[in-house]
């Protein structure tokens, strides 16, 4: 069910849509002003009712996360809001559009978020490559400050708020919340052990909430509509997966891009309605939400005979017809991730696709944990041999074994983020891998770009 909405994207095509004047014309900053007049409890309850599941991939309920912050804040332990806009996951490119085209929604979300968690400073962590995004965010911050919406007395209310942009320097791992915090503190971006969680010990050792950029940008809309009304936009409201969000599609589709819709969009909508259909052949497979989400084959069918499963209503149907939701996709054995799908046509070789992704993980492992550092390199080396026609069938089992040994043995989720998609490819394309090895690659089209 494709139901397009225009809350986050309404000014995407407007000239100067990123400027304050345009944002305010659409009611911008009214919600920040309103929030600062509410009680913290009422604000957090509203956000809980909105059922905003984290848009960065993990899908944790935002309102609940805000409620974890120690209360009341102690003067000697200031709270911080940190916004994750690292956006390094292959296939994912939605946050960039918000920063470039609707940066004021981010800044307004930061003001509301700061109040909700008892913070007076927000740091937006942006990857350094995104020079236009950084400029647009700084521009929005300066415009808001000039109007008195940021600073010592935003909207004349005695609750100081400052928003800053902090940049990384090229490291995918800094999208992981604890390595992001280390990077913000001026260290190597290596993940920390949890617990303690950021709500107890986050940025600069202080209580911190880390929210994804799209998550925080959705906050003004959720407040404007009212938490429950916002949640009910979604067809998965009953699963506490509310609102609207940005969806993306790339790879072998005719019309790649980002669009905004109510939660409940299916992969079929994404690929055929919005994406304009598959190019270079028929649909082979789709990675649902960024490269760490295990791949789904186009011919897979939902098997959920128990009515306890969130997937039961789609039992026997194609996986392409399941609404993209945090719980539905977890039940499918993959993940929703960032809702940005990568589409593979049957003219593209899945062995080469896996090789491409595993090169990425090898390159981006931070090196802190041995299973991840060595495992990701080992997987890539074996795939290198297979791709060059020198692999053996035994090595397929070796790949399984290495991936299994990464799972659960690392400090952060990067290990699983490598192992799960690896296992997904190996399980779902076993026949293709065997044929590739036995024919030294002649069975395959041997290309990614037809």
């Amino acid at each position: 069910m494709l139901r397009l909405t225009r809350y986050l994207t309404k000014n995407y095509d407007t000239p100067d849509g990123h400027k304050l004047a345009v944002y305010e014309k659409g009611g911008g900053y009214q919600q920040a002003k309103r929030a600062l007049g509410m009680t913290r409890e009422a604000l957090v309850e509203e956000m809980k009712a909105a059922n905003i599941r984290g848009r960065g991939g993990a899908g944790f309920a935002m309102g609940v996360k805000w409620s974890f912050m120690p209360w009341p804040p102690k003067p000697e332990r200031p709270h911080y809001l940190v916004i994750n806009a690292d956006e390094g996951e292959p296939g994912t490119f939605k946050d960039r559009t918000l920063m470039e085209k609707n940066p004021h929604a981010v800044v307004e979300g930061c003001i509301i978020g700061c109040f909700g968690i008892g913070a007076h400073a927000a740091y937006i962590y942006v990857r350094d490559e995104l020079h236009l995004s950084k400029a647009r965010l700084w521009g929005a911050i300066e415009e808001a400050r000039a109007k008195g919406y940021l600073g010592k007395r935003p909207f004349g209310i005695d609750y100081p708020v400052e928003v800053y942009v902090h940049t990384g320097a090229g490291a995918y791992i800094c999208g992981e919340e604890t390595s992001l915090l280390n990077s913000l503190e001026g260290k190597r971006g290596e993940p920390r052990l949890k617990p303690p969680f950021p709500a107890q010990f986050g940025a600069f050792g202080m209580p911190t909430t880390v929210n994804n950029l799209e998550t925080i940008a959705a906050v003004p809309t959720a407040l404007e509509l009212g938490g429950e009304n916002f949640s009910k936009l979604s067809s998965l409201h009953h699963l506490k997966d509310g609102g609207c969000r940005l969806f993306g599609v790339s790879g072998h589709v005719n019309n790649p891009g980002i669009f905004e819709a109510a939660v409940g969009v299916t992969l079929r909508d994404l690929i055929y309605e919005y994406g304009g259909g598959v190019k270079h052949g028929k649909l082979l497979a789709v990675i649902p939400g960024g490269s760490s989400c295990p791949i789904l084959r186009a011919d897979e069918v939902v098997n959920a005979p128990s009515d306890k499963s969130p997937l039961h209503p789609w039992h026997g149907q194609s996986v392409l017809d399941v609404p993209l939701g945090v719980d539905t996709f977890r039940a499918l054995g993959t993940m929703l991730g960032t809702c940005c799908a990568i589409v593979l046509s049957d003219k593209a070789c899945p062995v080469l696709a896996m090789h491409n992704l595993m090169r990425f993980y090898r390159h981006e492992s931070c090196g802190q944990c041995t299973p991840c550092r060595e495992g990701s390199a080992w997987i890539h080396r074996i795939l290198d041999r297979i791709v060059h026609g020198e692999g053996t069938l035994e090595e397929l089992d070796r790949l399984h074994e290495i991936a299994d040994n990464i799972m659960g043995n690392t400090i952060c989720a990067f290990g699983e983020g490598t192992a799960m998609p690896a296992l997904g490819f190996l399980r779902k394309f076993r026949k293709e891998f065997e044929a590739y090895i036995q024919t030294k690659g002649r069975s395959s089209t041997g290309v990614l770009t037809p």
Binding site: P90, G91, T92, A169, G170, K187, I342, F360, L448, T449
Partner: protein, 160 residues
Amino acid sequence: MTEQFALTAERRTELEKILARYPNRQAACIPVLHLCQEQEGWVSERVLRWVAEQLGLSAAHVQGVATFYTLFNKEPVGKHQVWVCRTLSCALNGADQVLHHCEKRLGIHAGETTKDGRITLRTAECLASCGTAPMMQVDRDYHEGLTLEKVDAILDRLTR
């Protein structure tokens, strides 16, 4: 003894602004390294020592940070830097052809700098431009939806 590193006056002001954003000086490490690299093109030993001194950190810490992140150049680079993204969405749309074309035109492999010192060619892992693949970044600008003709036009401008 090599000459002491110094920021230009304008960047010195920027440095003060950066420091004011954080509760401690260490947090400024990455932004200050960026600031120095903007001026120098890379982060040399003397830059690392200077940053350590300014922020009250050990030189080893600053070096550890500089080597962790791929965007800090540990050696001098060309006047222009070209990164071709080759991760999956770009690869599905012709990134390899774009990269080979650049290598052929410039007469260098990825990772190298042209003899005249004008262009350093690199590969990148996912630059959040998947919907407009294939793409490449030239210095601070993204060039998206590339065709080989567009690549030629971009390289023409850089080599002219």
